[in-house]
């Protein structure tokens, strides 16, 4: 069985994603004050984003160990740097409607307060500065702190 490995050896994720950003992103001339630098990805047909400061790394997904009797929003655990990290299906967690199934190929590992969780991704899009003026517009910005504080992930019994 293959092991989960970093996106590409010594290359760091920020540089790779920035290269993609140069190729894909439309950089605004003057970003409004609500603009944030985010890593965007697609999952369940939704374009989602996490603030770059919460991003630890991106990993190719090869081995996922299912969690027996685990909740549906946790797809399993993966090994990152010899540590076990849960793999979260964000659309399932947020009860967003999904259509069909897509190949989950990668994960964005985010961190907050000393904890880490991996966000499953069908596609990694880009790192870009995005103005979040309309909550309904893609990408949907995830509040990582709120994610970890949710009782379903906080380890507290609800």
């Amino acid at each position: 069985m293959r092991s989960t490995r970093p996106l590409s050896g010594a290359r760091d994720v920020a540089r790779i994603l920035e290269e993609r950003a140069r190729a894909l992103a439309v950089v605004e001339e003057a970003a409004p004050s609500s603009a944030r630098t985010v890593a965007a990805f697609v999952m369940g047909g939704h374009e989602l984003a996490v603030p770059i400061e919460a991003l630890s790394r991106a990993v190719d997904l090869a081995v996922v160990t299912e969690i027996p009797g685990g909740p549906e929003h946790l797809l399993g655990v993966i090994v990152v740097d010899n540590r076990l990290v849960s793999l979260l299906d964000v659309p399932a967690f947020l009860a967003l409607p999904t259509h069909g199934v897509g190949d989950i190929t990668a994960a964005l590992v985010v961190q907050h307060g000393g904890r880490q969780i991996a966000l499953a991704a069908e596609r990694l899009l880009r790192i870009a500065e995005v103005a979040f003026v309309d909550e309904a517009a893609a990408p949907r910005l995830l509040d990582v702190a709120a994610l970890f504080a949710d009782t379903r992930l906080s380890g507290r019994r609800s």
Binding site: L61, E66, G70, L84, S86, V101, A120, R152, L153
Partner: protein, 717 residues
């Protein structure tokens, strides 16, 4: 600070921890028994003096001064001129805690803890300035303008939070030498195994030569063949010996490492004593803590995990179990209650019990509360015996203050205590006698750092169970499991053994009829449980990893380990499995034969998704990560249908279909292509390759998939 002194400071930190622990222990002993004061106070002074000297030599003047003031405050006690009053002991403990609070700052080279040290020093000086030992009530409050070290919950000023990465243990040179010897032996074994590997290369070369000769039609002489066989036999013997030796060495090194992690259970006496003292002050009750079995050695991790729950139990005993002094006297009990921590070791299992001589649980009130709160139905409430009612106190539904008040007994947060025991693969139970007291019993494995586990398989997934809890393994057929009212049981030695099926965890239907099953008979708290799985893989040494926080609420998972392959494996808790309601799922019929489906997809999520969908529908599922692997599996296993992705490495779905069609053995095997490529041309290509159906991942519908598969299987039949 001079950077050169940095390593010395880290050594000092370890010494200081030890000294503070010893001082706490002496204070606890002196408080418990005044007769011990002459001996214990000398030990306290030895430790404080050593702390003062080391701190001063490193220029840590604030800590040196604190130790000095502590000595000054306790000098009258040492001279026999004053008793050690609870108030003086409190001030001393504040000083010790303040020194402990400074440790993270010393490690991190920050000012953390300096304020606490300064406040404690001021408090000690004020005490000396008053010229007398403060009266019991006099030392309670903080002076104006100073932080009140006693405010809030007792645990708020308990052990400082220390980054686990900076934690260390003291190891004797003898232990290190033992470890080095073990490693030397392992190195010797490695070199022997390397020699065996070289021999294996030579043997393979010899076999290769014989094979080429045979292939080219040459006659194989028995001599070289016999020589080769002898060499291989010798290698086999040597490898078996080496494997045995390796196992022994690994066990020896493991034991040495475990021993390094052991600490005496008596270390619990100080934090529990403090919790008891604080709870008594808060409630106006009187109690003393007695520790039995303090010499029992337990794993540092077990101790840390259990410290919180045990403190909780002690507080509970005072808050809800122990009566007010006047009430106790009125009913003929001593005004000062007794709370005991009893620690006992049996083989590799640790038993801890917190007992009190308080009022005990009002079972009828608890029964009524359980009924009112809807934890049990009216009929169930009537049926429950006393032990079952008491066990309800471990349910989280009982964990609110209002209920406890109404219960007039114990029950606050007992679910937390049981959770902690379960996390350690142990159990928690309670006994109580109305008017005479209660006892909470915790049973946990002696160590948890490394586990021997039994690895089992169910529906292609592997799990581990703690070896220490598995008593025996029994093979049976699914038909031998029977329903016994509310549960499934297996008759073992004429006793019904409650059954927990791993298939239930996976939401898969249980096997029925003559399907072979493996039953692991495991200890689960006071009882036993039979854990039913498909296959026993074997025993493995498991190096446990921290469980991600978000999984900590899953009671049935007690840990997670990484296998040498890099694969994660969950360790299941027999105790929690025994408690888990066994869904009354329909078992799959033994006849007609369970249909087998082969799924080929390079995406783990798609494989997982399809597996879930098809297993829930009663199919037996095997998976392959690409077309090549699917062809290999189809070559030696019988399948009724194949579901394949189109885009896959090595052999794609179209090639796979075509090659299955080309083989007489699999020519009629239905193949469903399941792809995100779903244009008319893609579907045409699929049909041309011989696919029986073509489904789009973008329009995935679980019901449709099952319908299509069922329809194809019917057609084929």
């Amino acid at each position: 600070m001079d950077p050169a002194l940095r390593p010395v400071v880290l050594v000092f930190v370890e010494e200081l921890r030890d000294q503070l622990d010893r001082i706490r222990a002496t204070l606890a002993a002196m408080e418990r028994d005044a007769a011990l004061v002459p001996a214990e106070i000398e030990e306290l002074f030895r430790q404080a003096h050593s702390w003062k000297g080391s701190a001063a030599s490193l220029g840590l003047d604030d800590l040196a001064t604190l130790a000095h003031e502590l000595e000054s405050a306790l000098t009258p006690v040492r001279r026999g001129a004053a008793p050690l009053t609870p108030a003086l002991a409190d001030v001393a403990i504040v000083a010790v805690d303040a020194a402990g609070a400074r440790i993270p700052g010393l490690v991190a080279e920050s000012n953390e803890g300096c304020d606490e040290v300064a406040a404690a020093t001021r408090e000690l000086r004020a005490l000396l300035g008053e010229g007398a030992v403060p009266a019991a009530a006099g030392a309670e409050g903080a002076r104006p303008g100073e932080p009140d070290a006693r405010e809030g919950e007792p645990e708020a000023r308990s052990e400082p939070v220390v980054d686990p990465a900076s934690e260390s243990v003291r190891v004797t040179v003898a232990r290190l030498t033992e470890l080095e010897r073990g490693l030397d032996d392992l190195r010797g074994l490695r070199s022997r195994i390397e020699t065996q590997a070289e021999g294996a290369v030579a043997a393979v070369h010899g076999v290769d030569q014989l094979w080429r000769a045979a292939r080219d039609g040459h006659r194989i002489e028995p001599g070289p063949l016999f020589a080769l066989l002898s060499r291989l036999r010798g290698m086999r013997r040597a490898l078996v010996d080496d494997a045995d030796a390796l196992q022994s060495q690994v066990v020896a090194v493991d034991e040495t490492l475990r021993a390094m992690r052991m600490v005496p259970a008596g270390n619990l006496g100080e934090p529990l004593g403090r919790a008891l003292r604080d709870a008594c002050k808060r409630t106006g009750k009187q109690a003393r803590l007695v520790v039995e079995g303090g010499e029992v050695q337990l794993d540092r991790h077990v101790l840390e995990e259990l410290k919180g729950p045990l403190i909780h139990l002690v507080r509970n005993a005072i808050d809800h179990g122990i009566e007010e002094p006047e009430v106790r006297e009125a009913i003929g009990k001593p005004a000062r209650a007794r709370v005991e921590l009893v620690v006992r070791q049996e083989l590799r299992t640790l038993h801890l019990e917190v007992r009190d001589d308080g009022r005990g649980v009002d079972v009828e009130a608890a029964r009524e509360q359980a009924r009112v709160r809807g934890l049990v139905s009216d009929a169930e409430a009537e049926r429950l015996d006393e032990a079952q009612v008491i066990d309800l106190l471990f349910r989280s539904g009982f964990s609110t203050a209002a209920e406890v008040t109404e219960l007039s007994g114990r029950g606050v947060g007992l679910d937390v205590v049981r959770d902690a025991a379960t996390r350690l693969q142990g159990s928690a139970s309670m006994t109580s006698t109305m008017g005479r007291g209660s006892a909470v019993h915790l049973t946990v494995p002696l160590t948890v750092a490394a586990h021997s586990g039994i690895v089992v398989e169910e529906r292609g997934r592997r799990f581990a169970l703690p070896l220490a809890q598995v008593e025996r393994v029994v093979r049976a057929t699914a038909a031998e499991l029977r329903d016994d009212g509310a549960r499934t049981v297996f008759d073992l030695d004429d006793e019904p053994l409650p059954i927990a099926r791993l298939s239930t965890l996976l939401d898969a239907p249980a096997r029925g009829g003559k399907s072979a099953v493996t039953i692991l008979v495991a200890r689960a708290g006071e009882g036993r449980v039979g854990i039913v799985c498909e296959r026993l893989i074997g025993q493995r040494e498991l190096l446990l990893r921290p469980l991600p926080t978000e999984l900590s609420t899953l009671d049935h998972i007690s840990g997670v380990a990484l296998l040498p392959s890099g694969e994660a494996i969950f360790v299941l808790s027999p105790v929690a499995l025994a408690r888990q309601p066994q869904q009354r799922r329909k078992t799959t019929p033994s006849a007609p034969r369970e249909r087998a489906v082969l799924i080929a997809d390079d995406s783990i999520t798609i494989r997982s998704l399809l597996r879930h969908a098809l297993e829930a529908a009663g199919f037996r599922v095997r998976t392959a990560t690409d077309g090549e692997e699917a062809l290999q599996l189809a070559g030696f296993e019988r399948f009724d249908l194949v579901v394949a992705d189109v885009r896959m490495p090595r052999v794609d779905g179209l090639q796979l279909t075509a090659r299955l069609r080309a083989s007489p053995r699999t020519a009629r095997l239905p193949v469903v292509l399941f792809s995100s490529l779903a244009s008319t041309q893609d579907r045409e290509a699929g049909r041309a390759a011989g696919a029986s159906a073509y489904l789009s991942k973008r329009e995935f519908d679980r019901g449709e998939l099952v319908d299509v598969i069922t329809g194809l299987l019917k057609e084929r039949a």
